[in-house]
Each structure stands twice: as C-alpha cells, then as structure tokens.
Amino acid sequence: MYELQDVSKRFGATQALHPLSLRLPTGRTTVLLGPSGCGKSTLVRLLNGLLIPDTGRVLFDGKPLPRDTEALLPVRHRVGYALQGGGLFPHLSGEENVTLMARHLRWPAARTRERLATLVELTRFPADALARYPAQLSGGQRQRVALMRSLMLDPDVLLLDEPLGALDPLVRHELQGDLRAIFARLRKTVVLVTHDLAEAGFLGDGIVLMRDGRVVQQGGLADLETRPADPFVTRFIQAQRPVPGGGVVA
C-alpha cells in the first residue's frame, strides 16, 4: 500500500528522520515501535501528507503522494487517522464528530445512519452516549469515537498514533482486545504507532523498530527477540520485560 523511498525530514536543527526506505504491506497491521523522539510520529504524518518529506518520496497505491493540499483531499478520504487523546472537536457531539465528513460530502441521511450503526456495533460504543460532547465522555469512549470518525468513510488505510497512550491500564487492556478484533475483521492496512512492546506484539503483524530517526530492525516480535539486529533491540526488549524475581516492585 505504501512505499517510502529515501524519505527524510528535518525540523530546524533536529534530523527527525534520516533517509529511509520502507514498504508497508496492504491488508496488514504494521507497528512503528520505539522510544519517544525516535521519529515514529513524524513517519506516520508523512503518510497522510500532514508533513512533506525534505527528500525522497512516499508512494501511496503506487503513485507519489501529491504535495498540493487540494489534491491531497481525496487521498485523505482513503486514509483514516486517529491520534492520542482522540483529537475530537469539542464543540461537536460524539455523533457529529463521527459524521462530520459524511455531512461535508453530503451523504444521504440514510447512508450516514447506516454507517454510524455499523461503526457503533464494531467499536462496541454505547449508542446512547453518541449525543454527548467530548467533555462528557470517558477517555476510552473518546478513543472509540475517534476510531469511528477515522473509519467513517471506510478508508483503505488506518493510521493510529499512540491511540491508547493516555488511557489507564484497564481501559487500555480492553481497547487493545477490541482493536485486535476490529483489525482482524476489517483486514485494512493499519499503521499503528506505540512505544509499548507488548502492545506491538499483540496488535502487529510486523514491527518496525526505530531509534533516533532510523529503522533499527523490521520483522515479527519473535525475529526481534531471537535475531536482534543491534544491541539496542535487545536492550529495548529487556527494558519492557517484567522485573526479574517475581515481577513485583516493592
């Protein structure tokens, strides 16, 4: 679905991404994994044109991503996007957030209603909470609304930037389960950003481990564990294992 060719990005004095080439396979869930500041969020923003690479190019469906904002619009309709905290519009209710694009594209009301019902069922969102405003929703509910909003136009690709980052562990655990079920059911191309190894292993078909704007290793979780490309891979994995000797920090 995506192919990145020698793509790099710099912000002022910081080289956020060194030139890198990467293929993101269609219908699979790829997890961009790494510590904060490794460039994974920059990478995901290159995929929907929120950022434009300094060098190289991003191929979407075999064609280079247009730079012109007007020409990017149809691409963005095919690429759903949700970020940490949901990025919900506070002045719109949950339902209005989800159906905003449908209204903008003047979908018939029946079609919008039908699609909304499908999404509510898919994300196991309580239908009576649709009329609530973001300020009245729990963190988990907000994330579900954001997910519905990104799926509203039935996009080919789903980009999720730390979608579970701001949630407490119980809600996070529940949503991880739901997300895996949703990915399995929809078979969309998913790119998910996280710094959590367990989450990456649980949700991803493949993992891209990044550090300091470079890809360190690409493969399954087992590959990273058994055939680390770099001592950093082992250190990163070790750091997220339970503490030896019972796993409980007194």
Binding site: P74, L83, G85, F89, S93, P134, L159
Partner: protein, 511 residues
Amino acid sequence: MSASRSSHAWGLLLTLVLAACGGGSPGSGDDVPTVRVGSKKFTESVILGDMVTQLARSTGARAVHRRELGGTTVLWEALRRGELDVYPEYTGTLRQELLSGRKLPDDAALREALEEEGLRLSAPLGFNNTYALGMKEAEAERLGIRRISDLLAHPELRFGFSNEFMDRADGWPALRERYRLPQRDVRGLDHDLAYRGLESGALQVTDLYSTDAEIAAYGLRVLEDDLHHFPAYDAVLLYRADLESRAPDALAALRRLEGRLSEAEMVKLNARARLERTPEAQVAADFLASTLGITAEVRGESLSARIWRRTREHLFLVAVSLLAALALAIPLGVLAARRPRLGQAVLGLAGIIQTVPSLALLVVMIPLLGIGSRPAIAALFLYSLLPIVRNTAAGLSGIPLEIRESAEALGLPSRARLWRIELPMAAPSILAGIQTAAVINVGTATLGALVGAGGYGQPILTGIRLDDVGLILEGAIPAAALALLASALFEAVERAVVPKGLRLRAESESR
C-alpha cells in the same frame, strides 16, 4: 480567486454601510432654498447661530443648525467643503489663525483672501469679542494689578488658559513674548472649567472673551491690554459666496444683524443663556423680536423626546460602525492567524490607530468625510477594529494542534475547516472582542457630538458649556445604561452562539 471575490464582497458591504450613513444631501426637489448654519461650541456662537437660523426661516427658507461643532477648523473645513453655508466667525480668528500663513494686514486683504476660497464676510455685527486676561476683582485689588504689565511683578501667579489660547499663534506664546511675562505655572484647560478654577482659587489668571457673561457674574477684573497685543475680534458672518445666488432673500435677512449687536448687548444675551439657563433659541428669538421685529417660533422638545432622539442617533453611530468593523475585522483576524507575519503587521497597524486620540481622529476625518455622522462612524469603525481582530486571531491560534491536525487529516478543505471547526471553536474569544469593541464604542460615540453627529454627547457638551450637571447627566446616564445593555446583550448572544460542547468544557475546566 475565491479570496479576491470575497474581499470584493466586503468592499461592497463597506460601501453600502458608508452610503447608508451618509444620509444624502439636504436639498430636495422643490425650489425652497436650504441654509445650513453652523456654530462653535460656546454659548455666544450658538446664540448667533440660532439668530441666523431663525432669520433664514423667516424668509421661508429651510434652515438647519449644526450646533456646537468642536472647534474652528471643523467649521472652516465644513464651510469650504460646502457642508455648511454660514457660521458666525471673528475677524481676528480668520486673520490670526485660519489664514495666519497669509500675513493679512487688514480686513480688506482678508476679504480678498476669502474670495479666493469662494467665501464672503458680512459687515461686522457690532461687537468686538477679543481676548483679555482676567482675575478675581478682590485679588487684583490686593495685589494692585490693573494692567497686563502689572503681572511682571508677580511671577508666582498661577495661570490657566483655554487650550485654544495656549496653542494659537496670537495666544499665550505671543502674549508672553510681548510682555515678557515670567510666570511658570501655566496650564491649559477647558475654557468653561477656568472660571470654576478661579472661584476655587486653583487659578488666579485666565483668558477671557470680552463679551463673556461671567465677567460680571464671577466679579472679575479685566486687565487692560496696555501694549495693545490682542487684535480686533469683530464678530461677522462668514458665508459661502454661492449663497448670494442660491438664497438671496435669506442672505439679505441674515445681514440685517450687521451693526445691531453691541458688546453690552452681547454680554446681556450671553448672561441670559449661560447664567439664567434660557435656551439659546429663546434668547435669539427674543432679541430678533425686540430689535428687528421678527417673530420666530421656538419649538421645545420634551425630555423623553430628546432622549429618544439622541438614543436613535447614538445607536445609529454604534450599530453602523460596529457592523462595518465586524465585516472587516473578522476576515483580518483569520488572515492574521493564518499568516503570522502579516498578522503582526495588521495588529500593529490596528494598534497604532487605537493610540490616535479620538478627537484628533475625528478632525482628521472631516476633510475626507465632512461633518455629521460620517466622520464619527468612520472613527468608531477604526477604533472597533483592534479588539475584534486581536480576539479573532487569538481565538484561532489558541486551537490545540491535535485538533487542527485532526481536521486536516480528515480531508476537510481549508474553507470547511474554518467554518466547521475553527470559527465555532474561536467563537467565545471573537464574541468577547466584539463585546469589548461595542462597550468602547458606546463611550467614544459621545465625542461624535463634536463633529455634529448628535447622540448622547450633545447634552454632555452643552452641559459642560453651561456648567449644568443636569444636562451632563442627561447624556451620561443613558450612555452608561447603553454600555451596560450592550454588554448584557453580548452575554446573551454568547449563550446562544457558543456551541454547547465548548461551554461544557469551560465548566469542567473551571471546576
């Protein structure tokens, strides 16, 4: 391309608004000539203006009187632009101030110079209202001061002069030079406040006009101008030359005032208006009846009718200027938020406009827009820009990055993002800016009276002139009430316009 179309639309709207407040010319289809009379904002000028108005009416002409305009230049410009036909003036003012650059030696040269401007002078009305210096009689007696030269021996005296006298070429600077006066404690203030300063002892010497009603009332001694510094200020009527062909009968009637007003007569008339609080129109009518045998009807207006008329005038100034400001300031605010560098320039310019004193701005507007509501609306419009532009820009820039990014990533075009996301989210800030502008606007609009725009400023101006607190309150109380009302109105609008989701957020944040 869409940007240029929308700016075209704003321009059209502004044009409409300005045309709406122009009011059109007072002339109508029939043959009845119209005489537009002006007067300065002191009692003598208003009485003369009323006499002229009533005389013109007595010939069947239509006459309007723009009373109490703020300053000589305002009237002079309005006369030259043809927005006034006639106003009472003084030869000294014309020679020393308005045409001071020409160094005119006598009145014949003055007439010639005015002819070039298309203006003419009547013969003198009879009295010379020149500048003079005055002190409390008792104090002058105690210090032994009779002549201006006597002031040289008393450098500790406190002087308070009208602002005009402080600034004009033949005023304080020239007087000081001529007599070599040593006093250092010299301040400028409103002429009407100077008398009260003398009374309270805050001042000891002030400038007077030789026909001031207060000379007798306050027990003042007029100091002899022993070096003959002050020139003659013979009262005359200054009118447009075209009045001779346009309204010959009315002009002939006005000129019946020539030579009919002695200094003693004028002091008496001034005293009736200022000290006995007889309306100027009545004073003028009584004089015309007794001297020229002309009866004029003086229409009174009830308090409620006056307040209602001024409320309409005031609301008109505020509403038109605020609407026009909205139409320009909100797009400018959007531009400022989207192009930060351009935004700095826009905000800087609006900030500079804000620092221009309102009176100066009004006077600057007169050559462009004349007198009446137009310059007042233009000035209020300019003053309203900054709060609205700044709050619009701040409201838009304050939208969190993740929300702007989400809107962009959804594939909403720029214009839809503005209407569906950005403006609704900035609404509370924008409304607060409009509210600020409206409240400032209601207060500043009272200055509109200085350029003949009417409104609540008119009784305030008259009240200050006549030292009449009741009249001042007649303008000040409704103005304060209107400001509170405007503020309350915008709070109601905020409840109606600000999306519920935003109010929820504000509540949860304030908890």
